[in-house]
C-alpha cells in the first residue's frame, strides 16, 4: 500500500516538477525580502519537513528573524545543523537569526533551516506552503514556499537561483575525512 503510494506520488512529483517554474516566492516588505523559498515533498506519516530560503535585508539596519509560523504545521522552528566529529546535530536558534544590514542569509540543507513540525498533511510536490516570518524590525513578512519533488533527479537544477542545490554544488567537497 505505502509502496504503491510512494510510486504514484513519485510519478506525480516528477511530472509536476517539469511544469514548476522557479518563481520568486517572496514579497518585499519593509526592506526584507525572501528569495527561493522551498521545501521537500513528504511521505505519508512524516511529521516534519525542512524549509529553506534566502533572507535579503535591503535596509541599513540589522534585523533578526525571531519566529515563523505556517498553517501547514503545528509549529515552525528555526534550527541550525552542524556536524562535528562525524556527529550530526540540530539545534533550535533560541535567539533567532541575525540578518545583517544590506546582507543576505541563506537557510539551506545541512545548515540554518526552518523546521515544520507536526505537519497537518503530507506536503505534495508542485504545491506551495504559506509561511509567516516575524522579524524584530520589519515585523511580519509572508513567504510562499514551493514544495519540490523529493526524488526528481532534476531537483537541483530546477531552480537556478537555489544556492544549496546539493547535486550541482558539492563538487568541491572533500570526502576523504572520516
Amino acid at each position: 500500500m505505502s509502496f504503491r503510494l510512494a510510486f504514484t506520488s513519485l510519478a506525480l512529483v516528477t511530472a509536476s516538477a517539469l511544469v514548476l517554474a522557479p518563481t520568486a516566492a517572496g514579497q518585499p516588505a519593509a526592506g526584507i525580502s525572501i528569495e527561493n523559498a522551498w521545501t521537500r515533498a513528504t511521505a505519508p506519516g512524516q511529521a516534519v519537513a525542512g524549509g529553506f530560503m534566502t533572507v535579503v535585508n535591503a535596509t541599513a539596519a540589522e534585523d533578526r528573524l525571531m519566529r515563523a509560523s505556517s498553517p501547514a504545521a503545528k509549529e515552525v522552528q528555526i534550527h541550525n545543523t552542524t556536524m562535528d566529529d562525524g556527529v550530526m546535530r540540530m539545534r533550535p536558534m533560541a535567539d533567532g537569526v541575525a540578518i545583517p544590514a544590506g546582507g543576505r542569509v541563506e537557510f539551506k540543507p545541512r545548515a540554518l533551516h526552518l523546521m515544520f513540525m507536526g505537519l497537518q498533511a503530507p506536503l505534495a510536490a508542485g504545491t506551495t506552503v504559506p509561511v509567516t516570518l516575524e522579524f524584530a524590525r520589519a515585523g511580519k513578512v509572508s513567504a510562499t514556499f514551493r514544495v519540490d519533488a523529493v526524488a526528481a533527479p532534476a531537483a537541483a537544477p530546477a531552480a537556478p537561483a537555489k544556492p544549496a542545490a546539493p547535486a550541482t554544488h558539492d563538487h568541491h567537497s572533500m570526502n576523504h575525512e572520516q
Binding site: A43, H79, M83, H171
Partner: protein, 209 residues
C-alpha cells in the same frame, strides 16, 4: 689493436652496469604493476561492524548484512523527524546510486532508525521509499538500539527540543559501505561528492561477489 686488460675490465664492468640498470628498469615496469587507484571515500579493512546483527525491516522481517550478499550495501543512521540532514543525505544517496549506471541495481541503501519509538514501521517504510523504492528502512527495537549503535561504534543521543517533551536525536553521519562479499570497505561522510562516490560504488559493484 688489442685492448689492454684494464680497458677490457672497464668495458665488461660498464656492460654489466648497463645490464643491471636495464634489468632494474624492467623490474620496475613489470614487478611493480600499477596499484589500483585509491577510492575517493576512506578505505577501511578488517572492520566487522554490524556483523551478525539482525534488525527488523519495515515489514517485520529480521535482516542481516549477509542477506545483502552480492550487493554493495550502504548503512546509514537517521530518523524520519530529522528534517534536514537525513533527507538531504538520502536524496544524495539516491543520486549517487543512479549515477552508478547499469550496475545501480547492485547497490543497496539501508537506513537504520535511531528513533524507533517514533519511527513506526509504517512511517519509516513510507519515508525511505519516498526517496527510492529500493531503499530499506531498518528499525531496531528501542531496547536494542544501544546495542546496534555500539556495533557500529556510532553515536545516537536524544536531545530535548522545545518544551512539549519533544526531542531530536544527535547521531553519527557516517555512511558505511560494504562490498558484495559483506566486507566493510569504505566509510564516507554525508557531504560526499556525488560523482566521485558513484565512481567508488560502481567499482565495488563490478567486483566479483
Amino acid at each position: 689493436m688489442m685492448r689492454s686488460p684494464s680497458h677490457r675490465v672497464a668495458a665488461v664492468r660498464s656492460a654489466a652496469l648497463m645490464l643491471a640498470a636495464s634489468a632494474l628498469a624492467a623490474l620496475a615496469l613489470t614487478a611493480c604493476a600499477p596499484p589500483p587507484p585509491p577510492f575517493n571515500a576512506t578505505e577501511v579493512k578488517g572492520i566487522d561492524y554490524g556483523r551478525g546483527l539482525g534488525i527488523a525491516d519495515t515489514e517485520g522481517r529480521i535482516r542481516r548484512l549477509e542477506d545483502f550478499k552480492g550487493e554493495v550495501t550502504l548503512v546509514f543512521f537517521g530518523f524520519t523527524r530529522c528534517p534536514d540532514v537525513c533527507p538531504t543525505t538520502l536524496l544524495r544517496l539516491r543520486q549517487a546510486r543512479t549515477a552508478v549506471g547499469p550496475d545501480a541495481d547492485k547497490v543497496r541503501v539501508l537506513l537504520v532508525s535511531v528513533d524507533p519509538e517514533r519511527d513506526t514501521p509504517a512511517v519509516l517504510g513510507a519515508y525511505v521509499k519516498n526517496f527510492d523504492p529500493s531503499f530499506v528502512g531498518l528499525r531496531p527495537e528501542p531496547a536494542d538500539l544501544p546495542k546496534v549503535i555500539k556495533a557500529f561504534h556510532a553515536i545516537a543521543e536524544k536531545v530535548p527540543v522545545g518544551d512539549a517533551g519533544d526531542y531530536t536525536v544527535d547521531h553519527s553521519g557516517t555512511i558505511y559501505v560494504y562490498d558484495r562479499r559483506n566486507r566493510m570497505r569504505l566509510i564516507a561522510r554525508p557531504d560526499f561528492d556525488i560523482t566521485k562516490f558513484a565512481d567508488d560504488l560502481r567499482r565495488l559493484a563490478q567486483e566479483k561477489s
